[in-house]
Amino acid sequence: MTSARTRPLPDLDDPLAGPHWRAAAAGRLEVQRCPACDEPRWPPAPICPGCLVPGGTWSLLSGDGVVWSVATYHRAFHPGLSAEVPYRVAVVELAEGPRLVTNVREDVRAGDAVRAVFDEVAPGIRLIRFERREERT
């Protein structure tokens, strides 16, 4: 939990999502993969919504993706974010399939190729944001 004045932060000790945030703090983008069907799972869940097998193996993704859509917040709906407006929220479709709600550092548009970057927002806590990348050929 964060107070009203501090910016919202992820919980690195969250039983379900903690591994994702701890990996992010170390500069890696990880999501669960189903131990049975190998499907990458996002958001985290205790069982595979496809084949219902419990558990998930935290797996490294490439961090490459394409912007699905992007919007710019000109108003902070959380008091802890008032110093950050305007900021951009995007949905990024990762190369491996999952779509993340995230931030983009620069003025990107839907369809632009992006890659993950890791921004420290509090001591030992990093968010996974995205910046433009040159499309590989």
Partner: protein, 376 residues
């Protein structure tokens, strides 16, 4: 005319909208109930069913409402989530199953004076997205519209017509909170809230209450008001949320459309009035397309051509909707469609309207639709 096997709306009631300081949600819902009962020409002793929709703060459920209204109904239930469709469908099921014959549906809220916080993070994956500042319904709606722009070239000026047209209707509706004229130029000159959306694309939290009385077609024959028949109903759930491709565009609304048209034996061409629940203008754009009033992707030009205005091919949200009338989880859309089908809508009456479609959603989790017809 179909009637005996159908459920019908026979009474509508509502409070003033906007700010009702010092009144709790149950009390607000109760005054709407008294109005609906009088409108139906029924006595309290005729009511043997109660479907209560909880307020924003979680009160005004069936147990609390039953005690306040002095009812001991044969059947009662509480719904935790908004959108009047869900309450209507549950009432129809209770009537058709023989659990109750005349059902009161209630909703009241004091969300505005109670200062409800709608800045919460949207969606089941909230704890994953809150650190990125993804809050308030404006966020997903802005992302959905920006995607629509990317795919189809839809412009902000085209989107403006939703807020502008609804304001035009609201100017003819004494109940509406926002009645000041709004032009496309005014809209475009106003600042972004979550770009590409502006304040006019979002509802304003309101206090107020609405109640409906539903009964069977057979019982309705004895009542004074022309019965408004529930001709078809459909729902869907879309619980995979973020895991679903394109979930913000809500393509699953097409399934609701297919089912509700099949249930009513009608299609988009047979609908005279559309009520699209509108916490954001973007939902209206999506519903126009998924419910087949124009092709998917052509909502922008369709709006700009004036089809949804008074005198257009499909008048939409003739009460002003939640963008201009009041945020009542769609309940006032139903009050309006009943008035229109009865021919009681005054200056905003759509001549000869016989069939209305009301579609609604609960965030990205549920969709529902009802088609209503009036027997003339």
């Amino acid at each position: 005319m179909r009637s005996a096997g159908q459920s019908v709306i026979v009474g509508i009631g509502h409070t003033e909208q906007g700010e009702l300081p010092g009144r709790g949600a149950p009390e607000i819902a109760a005054s709407a109930f008294a109005e609906a009962l009088a409108d139906a020409g029924l006595r309290k002793s005729d009511v043997d069913g109660l479907i209560a929709c909880r307020s924003t703060f979680g009160d005004a459920g069936d147990v609390e409402m039953g005690a306040l209204l002095g009812l001991s109904p044969a059947y009662s239930a509480t719904l935790d989530y908004g959108s009047c469709n869900f309450s209507i469908h549950l009432a129809a099921m209770a009537i058709q199953a023989g659990l109750a014959s005349t059902v009161a549906l209630t909703y009241g809220t004091n969300a505005r004076t109670g200062q409800a916080d709608f800045a919460r993070t949207i969606g089941g994956a909230a704890r994953m997205t809150e650190p990125y500042g993804y809050q308030h319904i404006a966020g997903p709606a802005a992302l959905a519209f920006a995607r629509h722009q990317h795919l189809y070239g839809t412009t902000e000026e085209q989107l403006a017509h939703i807020a502008v047209n609804q304001r035009e209707y609201a100017a003819l509706n004494p109940l509406a909170v926002f009645r000041t004229p709004l032009s496309v130029e005014d809209y475009l000159a106003s600042p972004y809230l979550v770009e590409p959306l502006r304040r006019h694309d979002l509802t304003m939290i309101s206090d107020g209450g609405v109640a409906l009385i539903m009964t069977s077609g057979a019982r309705a024959r004895d009542l004074a008001r022309p019965p408004v028949v529930l001709a078809g109903a459909a729902q869907t759930t879309a619980l995979r949320e973020h895991a679903d491709p394109d979930h913000l565009l809500r393509p699953w609304l097409a399934q609701v459309a297919e089912r509700v048209y099949a249930a009513a034996g009608a299609g988009p061409d047979d609908i005279d009035l559309l009520y699209a629940q509108d916490p954001t203008s973007v939902w209206v754009l999506q519903m126009l397309e998924w419910f087949g009033f124009c092709k998917v992707g052509e909502g922008g030009p369709f709006l700009a051509d004036g089809h949804t205005r008074l005198g257009g091919s499909i008048p939409v949200n003739t009460n002003g909707g939640q963008l201009s009338e009041a945020y009542m989880w769609g309940w006032l859309h139903v009050v309006e469609l009943v008035r229109q089908l009865r021919g009681q809508a005054g200056a905003r009456q759509v001549r000869g309207a016989e069939r209305a479609l009301y579609c609604s959603t609960m965030e990205f989790k549920k969709g529902a639709a009802s088609i209503f017809e009036v027997a003339r």
